[in-house]
């Protein structure tokens, strides 16, 4: 639903022309390239009137004459004034390029709209025609046309326009197909809007900006190919063109190389200006979408988007905002179960701050001083709603913060190694072998281009130095251990060939394969079906007990915490607010946020037994 609402706002609607223009003008490159194109345009209009001489008037005295006061750019091989020819040629070249552009635009946009909106036979015919046109290099077609109809700039450019039409066709077609299936188009249809109105109002507004950008590029291509044809001497020699002048200069390259300079500059500068303009427009459009998206995300992070927890918390969070940063962490003493593991600490996080560098040079802090102790062999829950910073904390420990993210303060101590200061090289000895990672979304965390087996074998060979055969054997037995029914078949399968639950088992197998001492599991069951969730949690519990690993379980689900954890830390808006043994937190949560999270258990996920049974079940284990 959200995409249906988002789309029209993401893509600039009616005021696009004015705002796009304003955004272009705000950038120096935009101003310069636009300025150049305007000058070229003006010359194209008035060129023939301000030319000092007749561009075709040859003079034997002036053959290859160097620049002089009367002829500022000299004269060409036939003794014609170069400046006059250049001015007149601008008109011919620009109009020729426009002819190709308009032809392509009309054919491409109209056929793209019809094919994309109505589909049917027209769609198939257009697709065929497009692939036909694409199967021939443009210039070969132009040469063939030239062979038949003789030298004519206009026919050549009209033909070229037809050949360029697929560029618009595909753009419009893709946009129309995408928009057509949107809900708001259905809504418009239901409300009785005619096809014509829908096309002009909802579809053209979406493709208008990309079409403008495409046009700048196409104009550049048209100028290039047109001057190329003229350069080959296949154009109409009675009309001065940039390409024709270039050809004349090239023929006299040894005698008067300067002759090539002017038409080359004209072609080069115009083409570059068109490309830069297209780039600036694209940047301007993409930037607005990006800023909007980022702004939305920033808002989500700042307020703590209420994805997992129901609205009842809204009121509570509001009142907490004021003193959240200064409030002390509420700590509960160890109970019997937690005390059993009170030995060595394997991971010690102290006052961790994580921030993201912004475009304007500032840093947006998302974790504001988190302290955590993970003991050897314990299962530690890190709970909080989306945007509370728990995943960022986990990534910081792994040294795998997304681009732009970095630790801005505090320390992470992993059995004496300062991870906050570790280099990429230090980390290669730690990731995999010492700390494992189980991601949230199983499908996107397997490389789609490699078999599941090769993705398991590769780290085994790299980290543990196993031979290919040993690694394969170990991977197969791991797949069996995590409950994959046919390990051999899964080993040879590609990720898209297995289910989400299977993929998550594969990822768990991968995380434990190198026998790490600590596993960080980032919401390992969130993306799975309810029935599969329970199985995966069982598997995690068994593996953890069997291998005596410490497990840092990041989750937003107190049910999972009750099921699996020894101790739990509650995180809110980048801070730990309460920490202690699971039973203490469930029994006497003190922080209002923890209480509201607990209250939300019943509102989501699978139906669970009452809290009391859960606790005794957990305590018995």
């Amino acid at each position: 639903m959200t995409t249906a609402v988002d789309l029209p706002t993401n893509i600039p609607t009616p005021p696009v022309k004015t705002s796009l223009m304003r955004r272009i003008v705000r950038r120096p490159i935009g101003v310069v390239s636009l300025g150049i194109l305007i000058v070229v345009g003006i010359i194209a209009v008035i060129g023939p009137y301000i030319a000092p001489y007749d561009p075709n008037k040859a003079s034997l005295q002036l053959v290859l004459a160097p620049p002089s006061a009367a002829h500022p750019l000299g004269a060409d091989s036939a003794g014609r004034d170069v400046l006059s020819r250049l001015l007149v040629a601008t008109q011919v070249s620009v109009v020729a390029a426009l002819l190709a552009l308009v032809t392509a635009l009309l054919i491409g946009v109209i056929s793209g709209l019809i094919a994309g909106y109505f589909k049917g036979w027209f769609d198939s015919v257009s697709a065929w025609f497009t692939s036909l046109v694409m199967a021939l290099p443009g210039i070969v077609v132009l040469l063939a046309v030239r062979a038949v109809v003789g030298p004519s700039v206009w026919i050549a450019m009209f033909t070229f326009g037809i050949l360029l039409a697929p560029a618009y066709y595909r753009l419009v077609y893709a946009a129309v197909t995408a928009v057509r299936s949107e809900l708001y188009v259905d809504a418009a249809k239901v409300s009785g809007l005619g096809d014509g109105r829908i096309i002009s109002r909802h579809i053209l507004s979406v493709v208008r900006a990309p079409i403008i950008i495409q046009s700048a590029i196409i104009a550049g291509i048209a100028i290039a190919i047109q001057s190329g044809l003229e350069f080959l001497g296949l154009g109409d020699t009675s009309v001065p063109t940039w390409g024709g002048m270039l050809s004349d200069g090239f023929a006299n390259i040894y005698k008067e190389p300067l002759l090539m300079l002017w038409p080359a500059l004209a072609i080069g500068i115009t083409s570059i200006a068109l490309t830069l303009l297209a780039n600036v427009m694209r940047d301007a459009l993409e930037r607005t979408v990006l800023v909007r998206r980022r702004r939305r995300r920033a808002v989500a992070t700042a307020t703590g988007s209420i994805a997992a927890v129901t609205t009842s918390i809204g009121a509570v969070t509001g009142s907490l905002d004021v003193d959240a940063a200064s409030a002390p962490v509420i700590r509960h003493d160890d109970d019997v179960r937690a005390a059993a593991r009170a030995g060595d600490t394997i991971l010690q996080v102290r006052d961790l701050h994580v921030g993201y560098g912004q475009d304007d040079g500032s840093t947006l802090e998302v974790v504001h001083g988190v302290s955590l102790d993970i003991r050897k062999g314990e299962v530690h829950g890190l709970i909080g709603e989306s945007g509370s910073g728990k995943t960022q904390t986990a990534f910081a420990v792994l040294g795998l913060l997304p681009r732009g993210g970095h630790i801005t303060g505090g320390s992470i101590d992993f059995e004496g190694v300062r991870l906050d200061q570790a280099s990429e090289k230090d980390y290669t000895a730690i990731r995999g072998r010492r700390i494992g990672y189980i991601p949230q979304e199983p499908m996107s965390n397997l490389d789609p281009s490699f078999t599941i087996g090769s993705q398991l074998v590769e780290p085994l060979r790299k980290s543990l130095g196993l031979s290919k055969k040993d690694a394969t054997d170990k991977a197969l037995s791991l797949l069996e251990r995590v409950g994959i029914p046919n390990p051999k078949r899964t080993f040879a399968a590609y990720p898209h060939e297995v289910s989400g639950g299977m993929a998550q088992r594969v990822l768990i197998a991968g995380a434990v394969s190198t026998d790490p001492d600590l596993i960080i599991a980032d919401e390992p069951t969130t993306a799975l079906d309810v029935t599969v969730q329970a199985e995966v949690l069982d598997l995690l519990r068994d593996l953890q007990a069997e291998r005596h690993m410490a497990l840092l379980l990041v989750t937003h689900n107190f049910g999972v915490v009750a099921d699996l954890c020894d101790r739990v830390s509650v995180m809110q808006q980048g801070l730990i607010v309460e920490t202690g043994p699971v039973r203490a937190i469930f029994g006497h949560a003190e922080h209002p946020y923890t209480r509201s999270l607990l209250g939300a258990i019943l509102d989501e996920g699978p139906a669970r037994p009452p809290l009391g049974t859960l606790l005794t079940k957990g305590g018995a284990r």
Binding site: P137, V140, V149, F395, L400, Y437, D447, K462, Y494
Partner: protein, 313 residues
């Protein structure tokens, strides 16, 4: 796999028939009085009629086309109207030149694009800025303009290379390299501009994927992940752009061959075009169409090899 290839070959053949028929019809229908054009204005009506009969131009168009088609299927594209040479002979001698030029350019462009694209995506900063700038300029400036500048600077002013002429690889490999270096650079810059941009974009995209983080969490070094996993996943879109560029290169080669006086398909087609030598033009169109269709098939196969999801279809 095999059915996919067979289907593609079949559709390629159908495409060739359509192209040949359309091209033949257009070329011969709108060519006007071809016999008159060959013989010139002064030839008598009888001689012109005789010439038309000799070339088979007095028969219905469809009959002419089927004649052309049946001999074309045996590799005989007829004879040039002006030189009397076999079209197939002049095509084959020139095809090698153009192909070596275009294939050389494709290889150079692919290698340079991957290096530049990966560097720009990973290092960011000034390298990225430079690559972006070069990409824009390379994209904007027409290839033949670059070729002209190269001739002017490296062949005429510095004298490092011959400005014109071609040495076959079989005659002298080093001579071949010297004769195609400048043309390949001229052609490659435009292709590199587009492909490097695409490589940069898809590497950036692949780098932000979840599986990259997971692979790194397993203890694989970033370099290994980039060169094995990221590049493989970024390869598909880059190949698609390279395929489009290849068609563009064939166009570019026509002009660049002219500048460096390389005896390739481009030169042949320009000569045939200016003189109106229809059988040769027809042969050129067919050969170019075959090249494009074959290359597109190869690219599709490469895509299938890269992406397991494509393999099934």
């Amino acid at each position: 796999m095999l059915p996919f290839v067979l289907r593609r070959i079949a559709s390629g053949i159908v495409m060739l028939f359509v192209i040949s028929f359309v091209a033949y019809t257009l070329l011969y229908l709108s060519g006007g009085d071809i016999a008159r054009r060959i013989l010139g204005q002064n030839a008598s009506q009888d001689v012109v009629a005789q010439k038309a009969a000799e070339l088979g131009l007095d028969r219905p168009l469809l009959t002419q086309y089927f004649d052309w088609l049946t001999s074309a299927l045996t590799g005989d594209f007829g004879r040039s109207w002006f030189t009397g040479q076999l079209v197939s002979a002049s095509l084959s001698s020139r095809l090698a030149v153009t192909l070596s030029l275009v294939i050389g350019t494709t290889i150079v462009a692919a290698i340079v694009s991957v290096v530049l694209g990966v560097l720009a995506a990973r290092r960011g900063g000034w390298i990225d800025a430079v690559v972006q700038f070069v990409a824009v300029i390379g994209f904007a400036i027409p290839g033949f303009l670059i070729a002209l500048v190269l001739v002017l600077v490296f062949a005429i002013n510095l004298g490092w290379f011959k400005a014109t002429g071609y040495t076959p690889f079989a005659t002298s490999p080093s001579g071949w390299v010297a004769s195609v270096t400048l043309p390949i650079i001229a052609l490659a810059i435009g292709a590199i501009a587009s492909v490097a941009q695409q490589v940069r974009g898809s590497v950036l995209d692949a780098l932000s994927r979840d599986y990259v983080r997971t692979l790194r969490s397993r203890g694989l070094s970033t370099n290994r992940v980039v060169y094995k996993h990221v590049l493989r996943n970024a390869g598909g879109p880059a190949l698609a752009v390279l395929a489009v560029q290849f068609v563009g290169l064939l166009s570019g080669a026509v002009i660049v061959e002219q500048i460096f006086a390389l005896p390739g398909m481009g030169q042949l087609s320009v000569q045939a075009t200016s003189s109106g030598d229809i059988p040769v033009v027809m042969g050129v169109v067919i050969i170019f169409a075959i090249i494009v269709i074959v290359v597109n098939l190869l690219i599709d196969l490469a895509q299938a090899a890269l992406n397991p999801k494509v393999r099934l279809s």
